[in-house]
Amino acid sequence: MMMITRKDLYYISSANSIMDLLGLLLKLVLDTSVSWARMFVALGVSVALSIAAGVWMATSSKAEKLMLPVVDVLQTIPILAFFPFAIYIFVAVLPGYIGINAAVVFLIITSMVWNMILGVYESIKTIPKELAEVARLYHFDIWRRLRRIYMPACFPRLVEQSILSWSIGLFYLVTSEIFSIGNKNYQVGYGIGPELIKLAQIGGGYYLLGLGVFIAFVILTRFLFFRPLEKYATKYTRQRAQAPKPKLEKRMITWLETALPRRKVEFDEKGFLIDSGGAAPRKPAVRRRVIKVSTLYTALGAMILLVMAYVIASSPTLRGYEIAAFIALAATFARVWLAFLVTLAIAVPVCVYIVFMSKRTSQYMLLFQIVASVPATVLLPAIALAIGGGALHGEVVAFIIFLLSGIWYVIFSVVASVKTLPSNIFEAQKTFGIKGWNAWKNIYLKAIVPGLITGAMTGIAAEWNASIVAEYFTSTGITGSTNILSSVGIGIGKLLDLSLAAGNSGLGLMVIALLNLVVMILLVNTFVWKRFYNRIASVYR
């Protein structure tokens, strides 16, 4: 493995004077601002898209039937794997920097928008019928409906989901920025991701400074941008006697969890718990109709696949691609699931301790939120350089990145779902003296199952997302010469990276690799997660 020497780095010759340090700090702030600009553009577009799509889905049953399954599926597909493909397309259409930045923003939107759409859709769907009747009685046009009814109804959920989307988006931002460094033709230009890679190669202190700036931006955004929005949102929630869910972990709710039957917990104006004892917020009737349409989609997908399979089988080149893609997919599959099993081994005891045993749950959660706000891929350069060479270097780096990418989803999702359990369950535990192994077996390990499934789905998706940088990571874009910092033997992420680097000739391989990936994800969704979900949905109510 080749290391960059200090003299390669043009902007710090010797950063030992205060002025140089301040200069570096300023540069870091500017770079992070550029990254944040990408995020805000993506958030703005996502808000507009989610309102349009959410309102449309909630008010037209045709749109609802057609789009709900699509949105559900898109949420679980690791869209970052499409980044190489998106770059290829965007750069082919738009010139250089503009193309690549458009690709990054597009990617971030695809990470942000799905849960926001569902949020808008669900909150408009649950508007009391009387309000719609009022709107009809007074002949509200679409703008007045939007302003007076739809927006106030969906605003709190939209803010809540935006915060979740923001943290998911950060992962995509950093990963795609770092990815762009791998290829000198597709550089993102300025941004905190490339900056951190440069700093990681100089030394620990500078890198930590970069990380500090990043975390400061995360925290400032939370308090200066989202907190006021949350406060503003309570204006609308109070009217419905429903306070906002105050904790970030509560927002780590994803599609499966909204679909799971949950006990509805409400608060009155003063924040006291109102025990409504109600059932799931989402209507089962809608679900059932949606499942019918998803069967239709499945049949459609199967037909397309058959045609594809025929085309691939009839061409020797494509057959070769298919074999390569399949082997690479299998390798990454093994890696992702191994990392996930280790994640479970760590996350389960940690979760049980934090939610059931510790009295400092909220302090731990705050700490975790701050740590989790740092996307695992930000740490990639440091990890790749810190762990020395050796035969398995690439594997170890990929494993660590996968682990860090997935684990927070599991932890936050478990904590959020356990919090929805009625508190009298824990009183019963105390009354009947359920302790020790008895409590682990009959309460703790079972109470976390719904959260674990949601967390597993989203966490594993995050691992697949990370694969495009975790499996193959270079700084070619900075140094000009091929400089592989970390690489596994074979893997779907690496395959996608290399096929992008190959330009036009790699396109066929890239498309086939992506097809394989999507088919695999859909199969796992259907045969693993849906089954789990159906089994627990009949019990956990």
């Binding site: 009625p422 009183e427 019963a428 009354t431 009947f432």
Partner: protein
């Protein structure tokens, strides 16, 4: 014989100077059914949780068979308003949870849980999960769990208020049967309720609480054999007494 003695129990939340419960005292004797009634939000449920040892009083004490209650124990059991069954355990396993503090081996626990379910008319539902049961059946599982460890005192927090009236009526007579039957361990019942009629129907002693801070307003003894005729003037007289005490 005195089963339970609540002595000058006061309660205030941590970080708060204002007492929400002030010097509550009453007793429950062997064979007695005691009801606690009071305006909503007056801390009835908190009082019951203090008696159970789930919540520590700020001052005062609760004696169970002349011993100070420091925490939950297997001889005092609890029936919850919303049943508090563990949704992920079968009905039989839920009842088994009530035997956690006993040192029976697992087979005996299984057998006892099955027998209890059977006694409450839930034979055949052992391997089902609570969510297939109606509210009344769920509460039967809750009661079976509560008496599994042969408790002497049964504490019940609004046990019938989540049920329809017909189901509630049946369960009320089940409870009275348990109290009056010498072969069943339950010697005394303390029930929190907001339903005055229910209190008069069942109780030997009715503790009327008042609000802000919670204190005992009146203790009404009902020396009258059950079942009691709800349409009799004696019944309505006692109800009027309670309403009068609540209105003061």
């Amino acid at each position: 014989m005195r089963m339970l003695s609540v002595e000058n129990v006061s309660f205030l939340y941590e970080n708060s100077a204002q007492e929400i419960m002030s010097k509550v005292s009453f007793t429950a004797e062997k064979g007695e059914f005691v009801s606690i009634v009071g305006p909503s939000g007056c801390g009835k449920s908190t009082l019951l949780r203090i008696i159970a040892g789930l919540v520590q009083p700020s001052s005062g004490r609760v004696l169970f068979m002349d011993k100070k209650v420091e925490g939950p124990n297997s001889k005092m059991s609890f029936v919850f308003q919303d049943f508090a069954l563990l949704p992920w355990l079968t009905n039989q396993d839920n009842v088994k949870m009530g035997l956690s503090m006993t040192d029976l081996d697992d087979d005996s626990k299984e057998a006892k849980a099955a027998e209890l379910l059977d006694r409450f008319g839930l034979g055949g539902f052992e391997k089902y999960y609570p969510n297939v049961l109606s509210g009344g059946m769920k509460q039967r599982v809750g009661i079976a769990r509560a008496i599994a460890s042969d408790p002497q005192v049964l504490l019940m927090d609004e046990p019938f208020s989540s049920l329809d009236e017909l189901t509630a009526e049946t369960l009320r007579s089940d409870i009275i049967y348990m109290l009056e039957n010498k072969n069943i361990s339950v010697n005394s019942v303390v029930m929190v309720t907001h339903n005055v009629e229910e209190a008069v129907e069942l109780s030997d002693k009715i503790i009327v609480l008042s609000n802000k801070p919670t204190h005992v307003k009146r203790i009404i003894k009902v020396l009258w054999k059950r079942p009691r005729d709800k349409r009799s003037s004696r019944f309505t007289d006692i109800m009027d007494q309670i309403y009068a005490a609540l209105a003061q």
